[in-house]
């Protein structure tokens, strides 16, 4: 019986579990704060947007600006919600995928690299939504999205996807060999 076929799971390193749990805790704290400080957060975002009319393309006519502000506030709120959901979900994904990696990858270096990618990618990606939301009042919808994409979503998302494909490849290779 090979190691893969052995009916045992290997628990990933403790730091990985700690990161995953912290991600879930951050999600819960974020979700709770969203509800508790909804008015304050909305006021802060609205004040930030009104302080930078040119960034948001405000024209000084309420009938026009109202919709621009409304859309930005909806997206600001969506960013916080998406952070909450992704941080919660990615915490579980980190635990599940690193457990598979710890179990099926024999080579130490490869296993460590894939676990590191899965953990950093999984924990970092949700922060992109928080960054996006936080930047909306200062940089506007599109520019803040671009910043979050290149600073967080693309590097951390790519890390997760690359690591997952590697893991898929390893498992497939083991299947073919056996």
């Amino acid at each position: 019986m090979t190691e893969v076929d052995s009916p045992t799971w290997r628990v990933p390193p403790r730091w990985v579990l700690l990161v995953a749990v912290l991600s879930i805790v951050a999600a819960e704290v974020g979700g709770g704060s969203m509800a508790r400080f909804k008015v304050e957060l909305t006021r802060w975002a609205r004040d930030g947007m009104l302080a930078r009319p040119s960034v948001h393309g405000l024209v000084g006519v309420r009938d026009v600006d109202e919709r621009i502000l409304d859309e930005a506030l909806v997206k600001f709120d969506a960013g916080l919600r998406l952070f909450h959901m992704h941080a919660e979900g990615m915490g579980l994904v980190i635990i599940a995928t690193t457990m598979v990696a710890a179990t099926v990858i024999r080579q130490d270096a490869a296993r460590r690299a894939i676990i590191a990618l899965l953990t950093t990618g999984g924990a970092g990606y949700p922060l992109g939504y928080l960054v996006w939301s936080a930047l909306i009042p200062s940089y506007g919808l599109e520019r803040s999205k671009t910043i979050a994409e290149w600073l967080v979503w693309v590097p951390f998302g790519t890390a997760t996807i690359v690591a997952l494909w590697c893991l898929v490849g390893v498992v497939a290779w083991r299947m073919i060999k056996s």
């Binding site: 009916p7 393309g57 599940a96 999205k145 299947m175």
Partner: protein, 228 residues
Amino acid sequence: MRGNGRAEPAGFLLRPPLVLAVLTALVTITSPAAAHHVGSYVPGDNAVTTNFKQVKFSVQAKKYDVALRLFDSGALRAEMHAHAATLPPGLEDGTRAALTAGDGPEVERRLMIFFAALSRDLALEADRQIARPEATVETRVATGRKFLEAIWRYYNLVDFAVATRDNTTSVAVRLAFDEAETYVKPAAGGAAAPDPAGIREPLQRIARALSTLIDASSPSSTTPRRNS
């Protein structure tokens, strides 16, 4: 037990095909990295358009007492009050009187005048802002696009009422609106680049057509202009 982990009997979960299927599903739903879900925005009604619809549907159902209550306490009346300087005199009081008297067509006519006036004022303000020489082309195009959205949001509510009273104005406004939109649309597939200067003429046409409509339909005027 191996390494730093705790061993548990879970044979069937460790079957490579199952693990592979789960991992493939995971990697498929997380790809591609660039397609980040950032939520969508569906524009809703504002306080004025919401109150207009409430009053309109109450009038259509002949619930004039409900319509009057909604008008008295809603944003429509407050907005009429705020725009009194640019509206035909007595529009607010006349609307209230029509609601009290249960005169549905008169309520509709006065609300049509109100929204036509709001649209006209927005068209005039858009023309003024787009004419500013210090603004960049992109800013003027974006400004034009936003004003057109706001104009249509209001005019669209009363276009049917306008068309039934003065279809020439209705067609003129819609044609001018369509033309104005072509100047602020992003260039694609060989189309002409957005032209903020070009939008001014159709905006002025919208303002003129609506001014004529307001003058012809204002409370002092009693003969609606119907062209068919």
